[in-house]
Amino acid sequence: MQNTQALVQELARIVGPEYVTDDYWARCSYSMDSGMFELLDAKPPAVVVRPGSIEELQEIVRIANKTKTPIYVRGGGTSGAGTRGTRIQESILIDMTRLNRIVEIDEESLTVTAEAGITWGRLNAELERRGWRLGVKGPYSGYAACLGGGVAYNSVAYASTRYGLIAEEVISLKVILPNGDILVTGTATNPNAKRYYRYANGPDLTGLFIGSLGVFGIIAEVTLRMYPKADYSAYGAYAFKDYQRAHACYYDWLKHWIAEDVAWYFEDGVSVMTPELYEQGYVSLLTYVVEDVTEDLVNARKKLLDEIALRHGGAPQSPEYASQGWIYKFELLPRWAGKIGMWQWTCHLQSAGGTLRALKAILGYIKSRKREMDQKKVYSATVSVAERNCGHISTSVYYDQGNPESVKLAIEIAKEIARIGMEAGGSTYKPGELWYPYTILRNPVYRETLIKIKKALDPNNIMNPGALTIPDKW
């Protein structure tokens, strides 16, 4: 890395002096995100810069590459899984939030293209104003989480039950490669073509950047599918007294692939939302959401989901259990945090049929640690949100941030849940420190292949060095 002052001057020339800072306190204010892992070793970057255009971003990357200065990219700063590599201090942190324009709502291609720093909340709102909607709506932190982060992190999203992870709705990416070149993927590989399909003109390079945590390049623009705005919706909720029946219903709902959202709350999770159900002997609550462009379509889907639930012995509950989370999407987590503390995710995928097996192991583990957790103000809430053909388990571990003992135990519990989930056949979609010991680090061929690609694309190892277990120095 070159001298900081010289770097600041060069960056100021690109973005204007007001959008670059090396002030220590300003940098310190960037030494966090929503996760607990960053807190253990929070280090501020050397410089923070807020580019306002793709061209500025491109120039910043060129300078970083020339001076071999590591780059960390930040959108909404809502990551919760320890994704910022090894947090090298002599680095440039790029705050992407000025890159927040909608580039094109392309009705011809049924796609929307936006800059990576737009929030999911805004993208949804702007599309709906124009009579369109996204398939996946964005992650649970979507009022601050940005589009690029959702892709680089391969996040789950509202409506993942129907549309899959964010990855599955991505049509094309515009990526700034480590040498500053711009790569456009999908149909737009043909300069005359619009961005309307992902798998075209050769291998799927889009996929290389999804879930990459930005180690191969910076995602600058994202093209997603869009659908006509859904004006009709319906909600349902059913309580179950045993896991087997709940799982059978969950599996059938998932198999028919007709709900936008299917969520399965467990006894510890239920206690977050509905203590009265637990008191009546219910251990699971299943909810669904459907939305569509006509009332008939919604009613037909609702009818089938209700029939399935009743067939499996579900006790109908107020649809509000489902509607509250959907209508006020992106608003639940902070509310829960106000009630029970800061959260740490342990979300991962399981096969649809195998979800119950893993759940039992995780819930059993939580029960075995319950007394200690209560003592140290650590709480859990387990929910399984179906994702297309997959099950999914997320135990949120809530803890008291002001109590080091609570933080320590929460980390231990989260790590153990990750281990149990992975050993039960799980797989993580969003990368992060919690998962590496059971995934990338256990698969040398996969890891070496990642490193080879990284070396080819980023010989100076400037992009988020250390992330994905790729060495921070060659």
């Binding site: 204010s29 966090m32 929030t119 805004r122 601050a144 106000g338």
Partner: protein, 419 residues
């Protein structure tokens, strides 16, 4: 006092989930498009918004950052905040007891009051003797002259000489209802005109009020915002004594800032000393709206050809949920009220709160300029306000931006139709 606040702030910073909604939220369901005005007016680095400042406060609590080493950029950022409360309003870390009200929560339902964290950081800067020179000067004026302008105390009551009726001085003639003018309205050339309209309207509504004139003491609202807690405490204690001495049972404030501090902070810090005085606090818009509803004012609602828009002052609307009363007054004139997109709890700050009237770090644009542009977009010819700071700020903003829109206090608008 500082101990009480310090403990509250400590709890708040550890409740922050760092979700960043205070910085970036765009929410369709209630037209939230911009939470923090500093994202428009400054460089928008984290330190300028609540999440960044909360993180800094936490690091100070944990001994990782020392206030004595705080940089000028950081001081600028912390004093850039207008304390408009929008970040608090949009924070979703809510007191679970208030969940039943969701999504119609009020300001005090929030477990993290970001304003307090900013004030606390400012208090540390003051304690370390490092405030920006402009702030230092304002505080000196408050200390020596009891107003931010550094004008003589005696002038505080001179505005009544411009009225064509007599207003009693409670200190000399007694009286229980105090028209509390605050430290902006009596001294500012533009704001005093609004004050005169308010005084006339109250008189026509048969409100039996008086003033304290040169004996009125600043409420401490602004010095509290600036982090000068010692001076706030001094002013507040003097006010408690004066209110007690003259048997004040009702205060009608001109400024929403004074309303806010009497309503929230006197009870919080002075508990029984305040509560035993049993003082009813109202903003003048509440009193006038009540008079209109009780038909105590003769109004000819003939402004139907006028398009007006209303700017909700942060300290009146967002922080105290007084949205209805100013609108009752506007509606009584017959004027065609067109709401701005950012109104009510989403109101965009005029840029004058939290010391913003006196001090601004280097900016890209000014909040008051942005706000008058938003007002003009409605097609309104009159921008109505209910706060002396907003009035002066937005009037300046319209001149700076060259936006042709007339600024009026809500009482001034009403006076045009009172018979």
């Amino acid at each position: 006092m500082i101990d009480v606040l310090e403990e509250k702030v400590r709890q708040m910073v550890y409740r922050c989930t760092r979700c960043g909604y205070c910085r970036l939220m765009f929410r369709a369901r209630d037209n939230t498009e911009r939470v923090c005005p500093l994202m428009d007016t400054t460089s928008g680095f984290e330190l300028y918004t609540a999440r960044g400042r909360n993180w800094i406060a936490r690091q100070i609590f944990e001994g990782k950052l020392g206030i004595e080493k705080m940089t000028q950029d950081a001081i600028n950022a912390i004093y850039a905040c207008f304390i408009c409360g929008s970040c608090t309003e949009h924070c979703l870390v809510l007191d679970p007891r208030s969940w039943e009200r969701f999504p119609e929560n009020v300001y005090d339902d929030h477990l993290i009051i970001n304003d307090e964290i900013t004030r606390y950081l400012r208090s540390l800067i003051i304690e370390a003797g490092k405030p920006p020179s402009e702030i230092r000067e304002i505080l000196r004026n408050y200390q020596h002259f009891n107003n931010p302008y550094g004008k003589p105390r005696e002038k505080r009551g001179e505005w009544v000489n411009m009225l064509d009726f007599k207003v009693k001085n409670i200190a000399e003639e007694g009286g229980e209802t105090l028209l509390y003018t605050g430290s902006i309205a009596p001294y500012d050339e533009r704001a005093v005109k609004a004050l005169l309209a308010i005084a006339k309207t109250l008189k026509l509504a048969n409100v039996d009020y008086g003033i304290l004139g040169s004996q009125e003491i600043d409420s401490g609202a602004e010095v509290y915002d600036l982090g000068e807690f010692g001076l706030f405490e001094e002013f507040a204690k003097q006010n408690l004594e004066i209110f007690k001495k003259y048997g004040i049972s009702r205060i009608i404030t001109i400024s929403p800032h004074d309303y806010n501090v009497f309503k929230k902070y006197y009870p919080m810090f002075f508990k029984e000393d305040w509560s035993k005085l049993n003082i009813e606090v109202q903003h003048y818009t509440q009193v006038i709206a009540e008079a209109i509803e009780n038909k105590k004012l003769k109004i000819k609602a003939n402004l139907s050809n006028k398009k007006v828009t209303y700017h909700d002052p942060c300290y009146l609307g967002r922080k105290n949920s007084i949205y209805r009363d100013p609108r009752i007054i506007i509606s009584s004139t017959g004027a065609n009220l067109i709401e701005m997109k950012l109104s009510r709890h989403n109101s965009y700050c005029c840029g004058g709160g939290g010391g913003g009237k006196w001090y601004r770090p280097p900016e890209r644009t000014r909040a008051e300029v942005e706000r008058v542009k938003q007002a003009k977009e409605t097609g309104a010819e009159i921008l109505v306000v209910a706060c002396p700071i907003c009035l002066t700020m937005l009037e300046d903003g319209s001149k700076t931006a060259g936006v042709d829109i007339k600024l009026m206090d809500v009482a001034e608008l009403l006076m045009t139709v009172i018979q």
